[in-house]
């Protein structure tokens, strides 16, 4: 369960005089398992997503995940919320696949050997066992994103936020990653430009000009967004 209570983000303007509203006060209660956020570039949808795990902190108002307030329980919230970024290359931080998954497990599993075993299991779940000891740079774009997801989901968060996870992928990989995301048992907050993927979620938010302008059923949300773009 994700709750926004009058949460807003305002940053100083680049020119130094005045403020810029990145997201105007937003109140939402999101219990559905799969929520899509769609909108143009720079509309504020990434900010909305990033607030869920504390990458962006609201200037005013609060954001809660399963009742935990980010301001007071920052590290607990981060453990509860996994985050998947657009560019898989930026999130893969270790040289080989298995080491990258191990890095996520470092806090939960102390023994090195046990960590290795668990990491290999996780890689197998994501169909990457053959690449366990390969350099992460030798993977294809789709494989990199799968590995990034493996690293994030290794710690079994309750919520997964994904910020345009398929934007840099080809069609086949978009489908593969999309299927995986929509099939998760974790609650999913998916920021995407892929309207097909958005339509398969349970609830759609449309963000435009720093505000949530539509909130409701996926087919209506997608239609609303198409109108918005056309106008």
């Amino acid at each position: 369960m994700i709750e926004f209570d009058n949460a807003a983000v305002v940053v100083p303007d680049a020119s130094g005089d005045g403020d810029r509203v990145v997201l105007s006060p937003t109140t939402l209660t999101l219990p559905e398992p799969r929520i899509a956020v769609i909108g143009a570039n720079g509309s504020g949808k990434s900010t909305l997503a990033r607030m869920v795990n504390g990458l962006v902190v609201p200037t005013t108002g609060t954001v809660r995940v399963d009742g935990l307030d980010l301001r007071h329980d920052a590290s607990a919230v981060r453990r509860a919320v996994g985050f998947c970024f657009t560019d898989p290359a930026a999130q893969l931080v270790m040289p080989t696949c298995v080491e990258d998954v191990e890095l996520s497990l470092r806090r939960s599993i102390r023994s090195g050997a046990a960590r290795r075993t668990k990491a290999l299991e996780i890689l197998a779940e994501f169909g990457l066992e053959a690449h366990a000891h390969d350099s992460v740079h030798s993977l294809s774009g789709g494989q990199k994103q799968m590995l990034a997801l493996a690293g994030v989901l290794a710690v079994e968060p309750q919520v997964l936020v994904a910020d345009e996870p398929t934007t840099l992928l080809d069609l086949a990989n978009t489908r593969k990653v999309g299927d995986l995301l929509l099939g998760l048992r974790q609650q999913l907050l998916l920021v995407t430009h892929d309207l097909e993927l958005a339509a398969r979620c349970d609830r759609v938010l449309v963000v435009d000009d720093a505000a949530v302008v539509f909130d409701g059923r996926p087919e209506d949300g997608v239609a609303h967004y198409r109108d918005l773009v056309a106008s």
Binding site: V11, V22, G42, R50, G54, L55, V56, V57, T59, A74
Partner: protein, 210 residues
């Protein structure tokens, strides 16, 4: 510079105090590592041609000074030290693809040891003396040149004096061939650092490590 919009934007959007430490420690580590890799890549790529005549210059010193000018004293020092560490554990990241501890006892070791300190000095000057003027190339040029003249060359000369067991005057002579290239590199450092500071106006504000 439209492509840089979104990362710069997300970089500026952390405001609240309680988040700052955790958030910036991840970013600091990432920047330190990224610039250690950048220096390595520049040294690895080797010499590049500059200007109409295509004079080849090596990019190692350029990258070291750029790191100081962009990351500030603390992170700049750590990034350059990490670069030296990468070479020390055996990665071929020094000039001419050499690596290993041998370089640290070789004739040019003085230059190597001077790098983190030069980045520290240049970073300090850019951050605390230049301040908001850091988007002007001429200002960054002065800061970077100070690091080069006050730290790199004296330590480089001292290293060669010790190593070859010669007089100061002579060691100084060994150093002179590097001057012209240095002027070109410092100019390049200044131009690029100023532009990158314009693209990421808050890059230095994160320097709260240590």
């Amino acid at each position: 510079m439209t492509t840089t919009g979104s990362p710069a934007e997300t970089g500026t959007s952390t405001q609240a105090a309680p988040m700052r430490n955790a958030r910036s420690s991840g970013t600091d580590i990432a920047l330190i590592a990224a610039f250690a890799a950048l220096i390595s890549a520049c040294a690895y790529v080797g010499a590049i041609p500059v200007g109409g005549a295509g004079v080849p210059i090596t990019l190692q010193t350029f990258a070291v000074m750029l790191t100081g000018c962009l990351l500030g004293p603390v992170r700049g020092f750590l990034a350059v030290a990490l670069y030296l560490g990468l070479g020390a554990i055996g990665l071929p990241v020094f000039a001419e693809h050499s690596s290993g501890l041998g370089v640290f006892t070789g004739p040019s070791a003085g230059y190597l040891y001077s790098f983190p300190l030069a980045a520290l000095l240049a970073g300090f000057l850019v951050k605390y003396v230049a301040g908001r003027q850091r988007t002007r190339a001429i200002v960054v040029f002065a800061c970077s040149m100070a690091g080069s003249v006050l730290v790199i060359h004296p330590l480089g000369i001292a290293g060669m004096k010790l190593y070859f067991d010669v007089s100061w005057h002579e060691a100084f002579t060994y150093d002179t061939p590097f001057w012209l290239g240095d002027l070109v590199k410092t100019t390049l450092t200044a131009l690029i650092a100023a532009e990158v500071h314009r693209a990421f106006p808050r890059l230095l504000e994160r320097d709260r490590a240590a």
